[in-house]
């Protein structure tokens, strides 16, 4: 079996494990698909941010109450917020080098972060130490007796080597770059904010919480780490737009949707408002990918632009209902979401009217993939 094969004519790529691989293939595989590693890091760090963020937000009750418990609550939340960065690095390395990468990734990302290179330094650390561990483990296979020693030695050695490299070589320039970016991004005026909103809207509006939108998420977290809350505000304004817009379109122009799609819209709109995550749009997208994606893209551009232009900020990364409590401006938030959803709904309805769906049967009760 080949290592990687692309099916002719469409974009399916398969990979195979537990097959014989040449050294060249092994190396190639280690360095391939860096975005998988980035996404793994994000996936594992999310609970730390969400839990730390919500608990910290709860502790803000200390503004109206003097009880000492609230500062305890704040310090609990702080732990989550402190450690999401080393965990980020740990699981980038895990994605590259499996379990052997976790501790090296954690330690090296922690070193990078505490020495000023922040999120970007942690990202670099995770990748770097992950690659070193993976290469050493997969390319050098000693005999059975020494294998145990090697398994123990590789992560320790990698952590030390990469750790020193980070301290002496990486930290200073990355810290300078980070400070420069933070300075630029903290003082954005309305126009610059609008542009940032357009970019994040474009990233977030095309794949419903998939890999491309996760790039926007990574940018958002990098900013969040340094106290830039504008990107979080923009991201939250965008997130609800596609599902809200499609659901609204299903109510406004039901004849353009199949029976099962209408049923999904009817039953899912409470979850859309409470949960607020973009993936909820997927069942309505699956049977009409092109038109839905165009509509979603346009709506997210609008919502993102407005959020950036008006400087919408969110200091706690909470989705859905919770976000309304922490958002910097409820009217602006509402404006962005409604405007974006309106554009999405209008675009979808317009597209379906001038370019009807093939084999479309409004009474079709084919099971829509539900969440």
């Amino acid at each position: 079996m080949e290592g990687v094969r692309t099916m002719a004519g469409n974009d399916l790529t398969f990979e195979f494990d537990n097959v014989e691989k040449s050294r060249k293939q092994i190396v190639k595989e280690i360095f391939s698909k860096p975005f998988d590693h980035l996404r793994s890091g994000i996936s594992y760090m999310l609970p730390f941010i969400l839990i730390g963020g919500i608990i910290t937000a709860v502790s803000s009750i200390s503004n109206i109450s003097d009880a000492p418990i609230w500062s305890m609550v704040a310090s609990i939340g702080q732990v989550g917020m402190t450690f999401f960065i080393p965990i980020f690095g740990a699981y980038i390395a895990f994605s590259i080098a499996d379990k052997a990468g976790i501790a090296p990734g954690f330690i090296c990302a922690y070193l990078a972060n505490t020495n000023g290179s922040g999120y970007i330094g942690a990202l670099l650390a995770g990748f770097l130490v992950g690659y070193v561990v993976a290469l050493l483990k997969k390319l050098i296979k000693p005999n059975k007796i020494l294998q145990g020693v090697w398994d123990y030695f590789v992560p320790a050695f990698s952590t030390l080597a990469v750790g020193l490299f980070i301290i002496y070589v990486i930290n200073a320039p990355v810290a300078r770059f980070t400070d420069f970016m933070v300075a630029k991004l903290s003082g954005m005026d309305a126009a610059q904010g609008g542009i940032a909103g357009l970019i994040l809207g474009a990233l977030g509006g095309v794949d419903y919480g998939g890999p491309i939108s996760k790039i926007g998420t990574a940018i958002m977290f990098a900013g969040f780490d340094k106290g830039i809350y504008l990107f979080v505000g923009i991201a939250i304004a965008i997130a609800m737009v596609p599902p809200f817009g499609f659901t609204a379109a299903a109510f406004i122009a039901p004849k353009l949707f199949t029976k099962s799609e209408r049923r999904y819209a009817r039953t899912s709109w409470p979850i859309v408002l409470i949960g607020g995550f973009t993936e909820l749009a997927l069942p309505l997208v699956i049977n009409d990918i092109i038109r839905c994606t165009i509509a979603s893209f346009l709506g997210c551009l609008v919502s993102g632009f407005l959020a950036g232009f008006f400087g919408l900020e969110l200091s706690v990364p909470a989705l859905g209902l919770a976000s309304w409590f922490f958002i910097s401006s409820v009217p602006v938030y509402a404006l962005c979401v409604v405007a974006g959803a309106a554009v999405t709904a209008a675009a979808l309805i317009f597209l379906r009217k001038i370019w009807p769906r093939k084999n479309f049967d409004p009474d079709s009760d084919d099971e829509v993939m539900s969440l």
């Binding site: 494990d17 537990n18 996936s43 419903y208 993936e279 969440l371």
Partner: protein, 111 residues
């Protein structure tokens, strides 16, 4: 064919479940026996034990992030495909799993 399906996505709320359900439906319709594990998010309830994975013929993984607990698949034929591709080409993905099964079953018979 005894199939183990693993789906793994970033937040574990949507892509994992949808893709797993669709793959299971197609494979079951073709007469295969299927066990499914959805990773991502904080789900621990449907973790498949090692014995199930080792007794499968093919392990099919649709992923967006690294797959956890890969040690369970040691020695088994594993087919991996990105989850956003899989969702749009369910039939071809099961085709590929069947193809791999045919190849490994064939070489086992020879050996």
């Amino acid at each position: 064919m005894k199939l183990v399906i693993i789906t793994s996505c970033v937040a574990g709320v949507a892509h994992s479940e949808m893709c797993a359900a669709a793959l299971k439906k197609e494979a079951t319709a073709r007469g295969h026996s299927v066990r499914v594990e959805m990773q991502g998010g904080s789900n621990l309830s449907d973790m498949l034990p090692k014995e199930i994975c080792q007794s499968a013929d093919v392990i099919l993984i649709a992923y967006a992030i690294a797959v956890a607990r890969k040690e369970r698949f040691e020695g088994k034929p594993v087919v991996k495909v990105p989850i956003d591709q899989a969702i749009r080409h369910i039939k071809q993905v099961i085709d590929k799993a069947e193809e791999v099964y045919g190849q490994t079953a064939g070489s086992e018979r020879k050996g």
